[in-house]
C-alpha cells in the first residue's frame, strides 16, 4: 500500500486532537493501516466517530483469540478511508474470562454479520443485540468455538439435537442447493400474493473452516492453493489477496514483472466471470440464446487462462513473493489476439442483448438499491457502482500493477438490475483495455523475490477488486512457518444483506434476477419448495405445476 506519510500524520493528529482522551494508543503499521487501540467501553464512541465523522465504511472485522500470545481476546474493526486509500483499524481487547463487547450494529449496520460470526466461532458475546446461531450448523454443540486456539482443527464434536422453530405465515423457500452450481444459499421469501414482504437469508451451508485450516495445518506457501479454492469463479483473487496480505505484513518486495502477471490474470479472471454472469442473467430472463453466446465467448477466455497458467481455473501459480510461471512473447501475442476477438464478439452480442425488449424491461427499475442504503450497508463492487458509489479497490487502494494503467470506473446511478448489468458490460471492455496496457508495458526481470522472511506477529491487510466486489484478507503471522490468524472476507458477504432492500415490496417474479444481480451464485434458482405450514408437508414443484402457480417455468420462480 502506498499512502502518503504526511496525510497519515495529519489524520493521526486530527484523531488525537478530537478523541485523544478515549484512545489508549494510536500508531501506523505499514502493512495494515492506522491502528487505534481503545478500551471496550469506548468502542462505540470511536466506531461512531470513525464511521460517521471520518466518513469511512466497514471493510471487515476480525476476531482473534490472542490468549496464547497476549493473554486476551481481540477484535480488529477495519474501516476504509476511501479517499486516502487508508485503513483505520480499531482494536479492542477483552479479558479471557469475560469476552464481551458492546454491539455497534446500530451505528454501523454492516457489522451485524461480523458480530454474529465472532459470537459463533470465538464465543465473544455482544450486549444490546440479539445473538443467534449463524455460521455453525444447528446441531453443533454449545461451547465449542472452532476459532479458539485451544480447539484443534480436526475436532468433530457429537451433534446435538437442534431446536429451530418454524416460522408461521406463507413463505417460499428458495434453495438451499443445486449440485451443479457453486455456493449453496437458502432464501426464504415471505410473500403476500405476488409481492415479497420479507426475506430471510440462511447461508454458510458450505462453511468449510478454511480459515482454521490455514491457521493450523498449512504453511505460508501452501495456503495460496487453499485460498484459491475459496471461490470457484474468482479463486485467483483470493490467492492474490492472501499473498499480498502476507507480503505487506512481512514487507516483502515483489518483483514488478510478477505484479504485472498477477494483474493480467486478475483481469482475465474478471472477463470470464462477467461473461459468465451476463450469460446466466440472460438465462434467468429466458433468453437462452444470449446465454449460449455469452458462454461461447467466455470459453476463449478460459482457454486463454489455461495457456497463461496451466489450468482453466485454480491457476496455481501464485506464491508469497511472486508467481511461478512466466509469460513469453508467444503468449503475449496469443493473449492480444484472444482479447481482440473477445472484444469484437462481445460488442456484437451486447448490441443484441440490450435491444431485446424483454431483457431491458425486466431489468429496468427492478431490484432497486438506493445510494443511501448502499452506503449504509457498505456494499461493494458492481452493486455499489450501480448505485452511484464510485468504489473500486483497484483505484482506491492500488495493488499489483494497477497504478501503471489508466482505466475508467463505470458508475450508474439507477441502482436497478439494468444498471448492474451495464456496469458489468462496461467493465468487460475496461478489462480488455487494462490487459492490453499491461502487456504493452510488461517489464523484464525476475518473477519471484529471492528473500522471503516472515516475522512473527505482524499484521497485514490487503484487498483485491474481485469481479463481484472487494475481497479483503487480514492476516497475523505466526510461528513455525504458519499463520496465526487469517480472516477472509469475500465480497458477497457485504452484498447479500442488501438483497433485503432490493427484494422488499418487489414482485416475486423479479426475485431470481435480483438475487442473481449481486452475482452470488445461482444455485438457488431452479429448485423451489413450497411448504404448506398447516400440514407441514414439503414438496418440490415440477415445472408444469409451477406454471399453474403462475411462476415462470424457465427461470424457476
Amino acid at each position: 500500500m502506498t499512502v502518503n506519510k504526511e496525510l497519515i500524520e495529519k489524520i493521526r493528529r486530527k484523531i488525537v486532537s478530537e478523541k485523544g482522551d478515549l484512545i489508549n494508543r494510536i500508531y501506523y503499521e505499514e502493512g495494515a493501516g492506522l491502528l487505534i487501540e481503545v478500551s471496550r467501553g469506548n468502542l462505540r464512541e470511536i466506531a461512531y466517530y470513525v464511521h460517521e465523522i471520518l466518513d469511512t465504511y466497514l471493510r471487515t472485522v476480525a476476531g482473534v483469540d490472542e490468549r496464547p500470545i497476549k493473554g486476551v481476546f481481540s477484535a480488529y474493526y477495519v474501516f476504509g478511508l476511501d479517499g486516502y486509500g487508508l485503513n483505520i483499524i480499531v482494536v479492542t481487547h477483552m479479558p479471557p474470562e469475560d469476552p464481551k463487547l458492546p454491539s455497534i450494529t446500530d451505528i454501523v449496520p454492516s457489522a451485524d454479520w461480523y458480530e454474529l460470526e465472532m459470537y459463533d466461532l470465538l464465543g465473544i458475546r455482544f450486549s444490546n443485540r440479539k445473538l443467534y446461531r449463524f455460521v455453525l450448523p444447528e446441531d453443533w454443540p454449545e461451547g465449542v468455538y472452532p476459532l479458539r486456539k485451544d480447539t484443534p482443527y480436526n475436532i468433530r464434536p457429537k451433534p446435538v439435537k437442534s431446536q429451530k422453530q418454524v416460522l408461521s405465515g406463507p413463505r417460499i423457500p428458495v434453495g438451499p442447493y443445486h449440485p451443479a452450481l457453486h455456493e449453496p444459499e437458502y432464501f426464504e421469501l415471505y410473500v403476500e400474493g405476488e409481492r415479497v414482504v420479507d426475506v430471510e437469508y440462511n447461508g454458510f451451508h458450505v462453511h468449510r473452516g478454511i480459515e482454521k485450516l490455514g491457521e493450523s495445518r498449512f504453511t505460508y506457501q501452501q495456503v495460496p492453493f487453499l485460498a484459491e479454492r475459496i471461490c470457484g469463479i474468482c479463486g485467483f483473487v483470493h490467492s492474490v489477496c492472501y499473498t499480498q496480505a502476507v507480503e505487506s505484513a512481512a514487507k516483502i518486495e515483489v518483483p514488478e514483472r510478477a505484479l504485472f502477471i498477477r494483474s493480467i490474470l486478475l483481469e482475465v479472471e474478471r472477463l470470464h466471470s462477467h461473461l459468465l454472469w451476463i450469460g446466466v442473467a440472460c438465462h434467468l430472463l429466458g433468453y437462452d440464446a444470449g446465454f449460449m453466446h455469452a458462454w461461447r465467448i467466455r470459453e476463449k477466455t478460459m482457454i486463454l487462462a489455461e495457456l497463461l497458467t496451466g489450468s482453466r481455473k485454480t491457476y496455481g501459480i501464485n506464491l508469497v513473493g511472486g508467481v511461478k510461471k512466466d509469460i513469453n512473447n508467444d503468449k503475449i501475442n496469443a493473449t492480444m489476439k484472444t482479447i481482440e476477438w473477445v472484444e469484437n464478439e462481445f460488442k456484437k452480442l451486447v448490441e443484441v442483448i440490450t435491444s431485446i425488449p424483454q431483457i431491458v424491461k425486466r431489468a429496468k427499475g427492478t431490484g432497486i438499491l438506493p445510494r443511501s442504503d448502499a452506503r449504509k450497508l457498505s456494499v461493494v463492487g458492481p452493486v455499489a457502482r450501480a448505485s452511484g458509489l464510485k468504489r473500486d479497490v483497484r483505484k482506491d487502494y492500488p495493488y499489483a500493477a494497477y497504478k501503471y494503467v489508466s482505466f475508467k470506473v463505470p458508475v450508474y446511478s439507477e441502482g436497478d438490475n439494468l444498471a448492474r448489468l451495464l456496469v458489468r458490460v462496461d467493465e468487460v471492455f475496461e478489462s480488455i483495455n487494462i490487459i492490453r496496457q499491461l502487456l504493452d508495458q510488461l517489464p523484464q526481470g525476475p518473477i519471484m523475490s529471492e528473500e522471503i522472511e516472515i516475522p512473527e506477529n505482524a499484521i497485514g491487510v490487503s484487498s483485491v477488486e474481485a469481479p463481484r466486489g472487494e475481497d479483503i484478507h487480514f492476516v497475523i503471522t505466526g510461528k513455525d512457518n504458519k499463520l496465526y490468524r487469517w480472516r477472509v472476507r469475500a465480497p458477497t458477504y457485504q452484498n447479500i444483506p442488501a438483497l433485503k432492500v432490493m427484494l422488499k415490496d418487489a414482485p416475486l417474479a423479479d426475485a431470481p434476477l435480483t438475487i442473481a444481480s449481486i452475482d452470488p451464485c445461482f444455485s438457488c434458482t431452479d429448485r423451489i419448495q413450497v411448504v404448506d405450514l398447516s400440514t407441514g408437508k414439503r414438496r418440490t414443484i415440477s415445472f408444469k405445476e409451477l406454471q399453474r402457480y403462475n411462476i415462470c417455468p424457465r427461470c424457476g420462480l
Partner: protein, 175 residues
C-alpha cells in the same frame, strides 16, 4: 429498425457455426501448458521427501518401515499444482497432460515408489537410506563416500572413534 436488432444474433450464429467439439470422439481442447497427473520416475527418485513436504493437498505421502521407504502418490487428492515437480532436486517428477483418470479400481489411483534401504556397511544390520539417496549424496559430496553407506548410529560411533583416535586416546586392538 430497432425491432429487427435481436435478429442480428441469427447472423452471428450463422457466421460462427458449430463450436462444440465432439469430445471424446475428438481430442480434448487443452493447451500446451495444461497441467495434469504427475509421474514419478522411480529410477531417478532418491526418496528425499521434498515433494511430500510441499504438496498442499497431501496427495504425496511418505511411509517409513524398517527396510523400505515408500513415496505414495494418490491421484484422488492431487490438485495438479505442479509444486512437487518444482522442488524435486533430481527432476524425477514430470507433469503430464493426462486428465482422464476415472477408474473402477481405486488401486489405479495409488502410485507407489518403493525404495529399499541399504544395510549399513559397518554393523551389517541397521538400515538407514535408500540406495539412490546414497548415490546422490556421493555424487554431490564425494568425500562423503566413507560415511554414506553407514547407518546413523554407526556414523556417530565412527566419528567419535575417529576423534579419539586422532587424539591418541584410542588404540586399535591387535588381532
Amino acid at each position: 429498425m430497432n425491432k429487427m436488432k435481436p435478429l442480428k444474433l441469427l447472423d452471428i450464429a450463422r457466421k460462427t457455426g458449430v463450436v462444440t467439439i465432439r469430445y471424446p470422439d475428438k481430442p480434448p481442447l487443452i493447451t500446451s501448458e495444461f497441467r495434469g497427473r504427475i509421474v514419478i520416475d522411480a529410477s531417478k527418485c532418491i526418496g528425499c521427501g521434498a515433494c511430500v513436504n510441499i504438496c498442499p493437498s497431501n496427495a504425496l505421502t511418505i511411509k517409513e518401515t524398517y527396510d523400505k521407504r515408500i513415496i505414495n502418490y494418490f491421484i484422488g487428492r492431487c490438485i495438479y499444482c505442479g509444486s512437487c515437480a518444482d522442488v524435486c532436486p533430481v527432476k524425477a517428477i514430470t507433469i503430464t497432460k493426462d486428465f482422464e483418470l476415472a477408474t473402477e479400481n481405486i488401486k489405479d489411483l495409488n502410485n507407489k515408489v518403493v525404495h529399499y534401504k541399504v544395510v549399513c556397511c559397518r554393523c551389517g544390520s541397521e538400515r538407514h537410506a535408500p540406495e539412490n539417496m546414497i548415490k546422490f549424496v556421493i555424487r554431490r559430496v564425494p568425500v562423503a563416500e566413507t560415511y554414506a553407506h553407514m547407518a546413523t548410529n554407526c556414523k556417530k560411533r565412527k566419528f567419535v572413534e575417529g576423534m579419539l583416535h586422532g587424539r591418541g586416546m584410542l588404540y586399535v586392538e591387535a588381532k
